[in-house]
Symmetry: C2
Subunit: 182 residues, 2 copies
DNA sequence: TTATTATTCGGAGCAATGTTCCGCTTTGTC
DNA sequence: GACAAAGCGGAACATTGCTCCGAATAATAA
């Protein structure tokens, strides 16, 4: 409500430039380490990967749950933003949908260990899951509609159904499902 | 099959006297620490409580799961052996049953944290649960029959049903249920 | 009983990890 | 450029799991 800059993302308000940069670096590094060493990976390892000190991690993410949560949201966000982007860059809407599903699958694979990490905070996990659905469902719908309009896929498929189906396919299988929709 | 002493519990075969003594001491100490500090309590703490060195713990129980499992079995055993004992010492079979249920409830309360500790070894947990039922059901039945014969309780109550009922009552309630069967 | 041998005990020591703290650096502002 | 505030780095400390081996103790033989 003041005269200060009203813009900026909600999660990065009035931070110093290096702080914002480090936060992004940390999210990327943590995501990488999580997939290789699990969500219980030592803080030092994440700090080393990101090339920052440990104090920096603790300043940005006081608890491990904070970090895990942030990484998760970050992944969701990246996946969501990739939707329109792919639609603009891909050869066809159908191709965009396929590429997006690839991203989505990658994301789901890393999602598994997450439940364990948040077992002591089921409310937060639930909140995260609803965010996951709310954020990604419209994106999926947009891609789906475009693919239907372009005639690359038969109409009638519901976005939630599709996401749910892909999710189920990823249970037990972590090979590369070159998903062929129908 | 040899000429050596054929007796002795299956779990304590040909051990040195001090080893057996320490094992018992450890089970008691661990049980106590588990209820106050949870099953993730530091090994040092248990060792200190038992008045032994850490090497002693690791020799008897190489992994934490081994210790937790042993404590659990020990509790079951104590509860099972208390059945006939109470039947002989209590004023009436009904009283014996009531006292036994008190013990049983105490045991159930501590049982909760156990599932967490064995989450990485569900097969062992399952085995333990069947042992739990197999060992305690006959004891409960004996007490129940005696109480029925003495007229303190109406017949028809099944031991498994009773145990199950008590178990359910203990979910969410840890006050003292002075259980009044019907 | 005493000597001998096999077990068991104790806990120092090492490695891994979580967490804090404070001097130094970078950034934003005037 | 000078200054203050914000942020950074990582040394340092605390906790814990686990190993290892000389000392102590129990079982056995003489």
């Amino acid at each position: 409500m003041s005269t200060e800059s009203p813009a900026g993302k909600a999660s990065t308000r009035n931070k110093r430039a290096d702080a914002v940069r480090n936060q992004q670096t940390l999210l990327a590094a943590a995501a990488e380490v999580f997939v290789t060493s699990g969500v219980d990976a030592p803080i030092r390892q994440i700090a080393a990967k990101a090339g920052v000190g440990m104090g920096t991690i603790y300043r940005h993410f006081p608890t491990r749950a904070d970090l895990v949560t942030a990484v998760y949201r970050h992944q969701i966000e990246a996946c969501a933003e990739a939707g329109p982007s792919l639609l603009a860059s891909a050869d066809s809407p159908f191709d965009a949908l396929r590429q997006w599903i690839d991203l989505f699958v990658d994301f789901l694979v890393t999602k598994h260990g997450l439940a364990d990490a948040l077992q002591s905070d089921s409310s937060r996990f639930a909140a995260l899951h609803t965010y996951f659905l709310d954020r990604l469902e419209p994106v999926c719908a947009q891609l789906l509609d475009a693919a239907v309009d372009a005639g690359g896929i038969r109409p009638g498929t519901q976005p939630y159904e599709l996401m749910r189906g892909i999710g189920n396919l990823c249970i037990g299988r972590d090979s590369d499902p070159r998903y062929d929709p129908r």
